[in-house]
């Protein structure tokens, strides 16, 4: 038992002080007929060395973006994580502390959260941010609930097909037992059409969720769409990619400064967090000042202490479940503090120039790859709309699985088949290109598509090994 302290002598002394003869006697608080009368059926304990060997063995049974060049996106991205982010986030004082209920001994977390909130408002162009939610999808769902609550009486939520399918599914679950209906907007051309939106919004519309860039990587006409939604009295919820804000207009600025989105949500994994098979990630949520008391989750505020020093505390807690119980804005308790810290460190390292350069590299490289893949003749672009860092291609051979398998064989995680979510796009693949991908990798991926001869591809692969 490496993590417990009590020696047999300790136990004896403690039991005597308690006034019982054994630990068993203490456990008699649990009625006998509830007691488990056998050991749990679990594998026997592993020492650290065995655990280490075991987990390493499991890890070697996986391919990963470390071993394979990764072109998978779809809401989770292989962006570069600077070493400083890991170094800071692995400090025990950060990752082994709890929710900062005692502000005097939690200024580290509280100030970092305040900095996070400040960075998010600067990123989005909105007034306030909370200190994190679970992930992009639940942040979107919480934003929808905020909008429904804010626009009393309105019950419709317009979701375009170009919004991440798992976000749409999550929102549907969140609405499943509540008054609030999803109105689906089809996007046959890969983006929301202004006319279609105009036809979908009315006095029942609480909000419209506008993804930017959307799930297909396409750029929505956010200015126009925002105007349409606002004209109908609906709130606009932006679902943005934080990296894209190195080049794209901020949600708060859509359709003109201060006239933009009312709430902006994002998956913050791109900002310095590892992919770790889907989570924990970082739900980001910012909004206009007027919505501040409807925000779900923790918020940190600045104040002064009894000596007059600037300091930070959890604030507006009357929104929260631990105070308001069934009247709370949300049931959120644990948030993603450590991931928000990672995003804070990441953005501090990047600065405005680093963010812009990162976004530009994604933009340029993804367009280059799309072009190379289309030139092969096997693929064609599906949507005409401009894209940021990912794009949808149609395999003229209708063999997406084959393409992905060929990629694997040559050291690539080549793309995401879209058939699971979009049956009509069963012959299509979503390909994402981050700043990490080198031209050499892009050219090799294009080469295995162009070449049907196996030998060439193998040669390309060996080239990598000697690089």
């Amino acid at each position: 038992m490496p993590f417990t302290y009590n020696t047999p002598e300790d136990e004896a002394a403690m039991l005597a002080a308690i006034g019982v003869g054994s630990i068993e006697e203490l456990l008699e608080q649990v009625p006998a007929d509830f007691r488990l009368d056998r050991p749990l059926r679990l594998p026997a304990a592993l020492g650290e060395m065995e655990l280490d060997a075991h987990t390493r063995r499991l890890a070697t049974r996986n391919a990963s973006p470390t071993s394979h060049a990764c072109f998978l996106g779809g809401g989770a991205y292989d962006h570069f994580v600077p070493a400083v982010v890991d170094a800071i986030a692995s400090r025990g004082e950060f990752y082994t502390s709890y929710t900062p209920y005692q502000a005097e001994v939690a200024q580290g977390n509280l100030q970092a959260m305040f900095e996070y909130q400040s960075l998010v408002t600067r990123l989005t162009g909105l007034d306030v941010s909370n200190s994190s939610l679970y992930d992009g999808a639940t942040a979107a769902a919480e934003a929808v609930l905020m909008a429904l609550a804010a626009s009393k009486g309105r019950t419709e939520v317009v979701l375009p097909d170009s919004l991440h399918p798992e976000y749409r599914q999550t929102i549907a679950t969140y609405l499943s037992n509540l008054p609030g209906q999803v109105v689906t907007l089809t996007t046959p051309h890969g983006v929301i059409e202004a006319e279609a939106l105009r036809a979908s919004v009315n006095e029942q519309t609480a909000c419209v969720v506008i993804p930017q860039p959307n799930f297909f990587g396409c750029i929505e006409e956010a200015d126009e769409l925002t105007r349409i939604a606002h004209e109908a009295g609906a709130l606009v919820i932006a679902a943005y990619d934080p990296i894209s804000l190195g080049v794209l207009k901020r949600p708060g600025d859509w359709s003109g400064e201060g006239a933009g989105a009312d709430i902006a949500v994002a998956e913050g994994q791109s900002l310095g967090s590892p992919l770790q098979y889907g989570g924990p990630y970082l739900g980001m949520l910012a909004c206009r000042e007027s919505l501040v008391r409807r925000i779900p989750g923790r918020i940190v505020g600045q104040t002064t202490d009894r000596r007059g020093n600037r300091c930070f505390v959890l604030t507006l807690q009357t929104r929260e479940q631990h105070i308001r119980r069934d009247k709370a804005t949300s049931n959120v308790c644990s948030n993603q503090g450590l991931l928000a810290l990672r995003a804070t460190v990441y953005l501090a390292l990047l600065g405005p120039t680093g963010l812009r350069e990162t976004a530009h590299l994604c933009l340029q490289k993804s367009h280059y790859l799309a072009e190379q893949l289309c030139q092969s003749g096997r693929f064609e672009k599906v949507f005409a709309a401009p894209t940021f860092k990912e794009f949808v291609l149609r395999d003229r051979q209708a063999d997406v699985a084959g393409f992905i398998n060929d990629g694997l064989e040559h050291g690539f995680l080549a793309g995401i088949p879209l058939g699971r979510w979009y049956p009509e796009l069963a012959d299509c693949v979503l390909i994402s290109v981050t700043e990490k991908r080198t031209r050499e990798e892009l050219d090799r991926l294009a080469a295995i598509v162009s070449s049907t001869r196996h030998g060439d591809a193998i040669a390309a692969h060996s080239a990598l090994q000697t690089a």
Binding site: T4, N6, M14, Q29, V30, L40, L46, T55, R57, A59, R61, N62, T66, S67, A76, E93, F94, T96, S97, T99, P100, E104, Q107, G108, A112, L123, Y134, T138, Y167, T173, S176, E221, L248, K249, R250, P280, V292, G301, T304, N309, V313, R325, D326, S330, S334, N335, Q336, L338, L349, G351, P352, T358, H360, L361, Q364, K365, L408, L413, R420, L442
Partner: protein, 484 residues
């Protein structure tokens, strides 16, 4: 105390990260993106050099108390030791870096781990079906209530109410509301037990779920658990077990064996996942067979073909499923740590965890009760709630005063003013990963504090960089960001 913000440290032109020059032909951005979509300038992030960033956050970190550095008896939070071996495993290339949409053939190791974890959690809970998807305890509660709602809907039953004891975590009623139920509060007795009279008065055929925390939030095992479960079940309702206190009963008793139909886990409490300053956690849930088909998709399944190595895959074909409760698979990084913790302990080790947690809590209770009364009595499971009511009445010393003064002694405060059923509550959960020496020192500190000059206590803490922040001002005129 230096509260310089990142923004205060910024100077135009500083850089901490240099990106490579573009190695593909660069096209004018206007040819790639519509003019209206392009930002006029980059967001006003601070401009810093790398050493600044490192020093800023290194020094910030030391403003926190943490389990790595301090005793942290924050009741209901199970602030136990966070094994470094789990951090190492979760960070391995091949585990910590997998993309959520990789082909299943490329993640057989990860799926095997997750499948086994599903099985472990089911075995520990006595509830055969498991979903690893929820992102946190409260999210698990909500997911379970959605499952319950789907179950009743499927059966054509109109059940609108959820029973919640007044001593429950605030997440319980909040989750019930989000799942579309109304909450009905059940009173508890001074002992912390459910007031059976009140319970029976409120139990009817509209009750969908009784959300019970057992051991409850004063740390006692619900004496009427059997009756509660039987009577709820007799009315066709379901029992939901708030798993926050699982640390008390691992291998001792199983929720599925004492009547629960559903439960969540807090792997970041029970299974030592670090809390990360408030998160991330995870909230896997286990349910009975009859509720299994409503769980969120996907679930990891295993196929054993003859004489072949088993093949793991994700089962999305769950037509009765409530659907997704979040994006991607789940908070896998937290789940990997939980898996490591369970593998490290095995059956005997897990039971010993609970035994030692209960021993430590009872020992501390036995030392403290003489000067800080513990209304619930002389016994507890893994935590107990002392009351400073008498001190408050007699000497004006509040639970908050005691909590703040403890910080001066280098110990994190217990949870205060929860549960609301205990006046001037101090909820102490020492966990099994603390020593008798630490508990003795803590008891002595508490005693010493109860004897100290109340004035000294009202203004405590005295040794920390800041003291008693003005929370009222913070909430009244909120300053929520450094606006550039």
């Amino acid at each position: 105390h230096d509260t310089q913000l990142l923004f205060d440290l910024s100077k135009p032109g500083r850089r901490a990260l240099r990106l490579p020059t573009c190695d593909v032909p660069v096209q004018p951005i206007e040819t790639l993106l519509p003019a209206g979509a392009i930002a006029e300038q980059a967001p006003a992030l601070p401009e810093l050099a790398e050493p600044q960033v490192v020093r800023h956050f290194t020094n910030l970190s030391t403003q926190n108390m943490s389990v790595d550095s301090h005793f942290y008896p924050l009741g209901s939070c199970t602030m136990k030791h966070n094994p470094k071996r789990n951090e190492r495993a979760a960070g391995l290339a091949g585990l910590g870096d997998l993309h959520p949409y990789q082909p299943e053939s490329t993640i057989q190791g990860m799926l095997a781990l997750l499948y086994d974890l599903q099985e472990f959690l089911s075995e520990i809970s006595g509830l055969p079906a498991c979903s690893l998807q929820p992102a946190a305890g409260a999210h698990g509660e909500l997911t379970a209530l959605w499952v319950a709602a789907a179950y009743f809907r499927d059966r054509g039953e109109q059940r609108t109410k959820v029973l919640v004891p007044d001593s429950a975590h605030g997440t319980n009623p909040a989750s019930a509301i989000m799942a579309g139920f109304e909450t009905v509060t059940v009173k508890t007795l001074k002992s912390g037990a459910v007031d059976m009279e009140d319970f029976r008065a409120k139990l009817d055929d509209h009750i969908a779920v009784f959300m019970i925390t057992n051991p409850n939030t004063v740390g006692i095992f619900e004496p009427a658990m059997r009756q509660i479960a039987d009577e709820v079940h007799a009315r066709g309702g379901l029992i939901y077990l708030d798993g926050a206190n699982m640390n008390a009963i691992l291998g001792v008793t199983r929720p599925g064996d004492f009547g629960a139909d559903m439960q969540h886990y807090n792997p970041h409490k029970t299974f030592s996942g670090p809390h990360g300053g408030g998160g991330p956690g995870a909230g896997p849930i286990c349910v009975t067979e009859k509720l299994a088909s409503y769980l969120p998709a996907p679930i990891v399944v295993k196929r054993n073909d003859d004489n072949q190595a088993p093949v793991y895959s994700l089962d999305y074909e769950r037509p009765k499923s409530i659907g997704r409760v979040r994006s991607f698979f789940g908070n896998t990084g937290v789940l990997v740590r939980a898996y490591c913790y369970i593998r490290t302990h095995g059956p005997d080790g897990l039971r010993r965890v609970s035994e030692q947690a209960v021993l430590n809590a009872n020992y501390l209770l036995s030392r403290v009760k003489h000067f800080l009364p513990v209304p619930q009595g002389d016994r507890c499971m893994h935590e107990f709630v002392a009351s400073a009511k008498q001190l408050k009445t007699e000497r004006g010393v509040s639970a908050m005063d005691i909590a703040k003064r403890l910080l001066d002694f280098g110990v994190h405060a217990p949870t205060v003013y929860f549960p609301q059923t205990v006046p001037e509550a101090l909820m102490c959960e020492p966990t099994e990963t603390e020593s008798k020496e630490t508990l003795d020192a803590f008891a002595e500190m508490l005693f010493r504090i109860t004897e100290e000059d109340p004035e000294l206590l009202h203004t405590a803490p005295h040794t920390t960089a800041i003291s008693r922040p003005d929370e009222v001002a913070a909430a009244r005129q909120p300053t929520l960001c450094h606006c550039g």
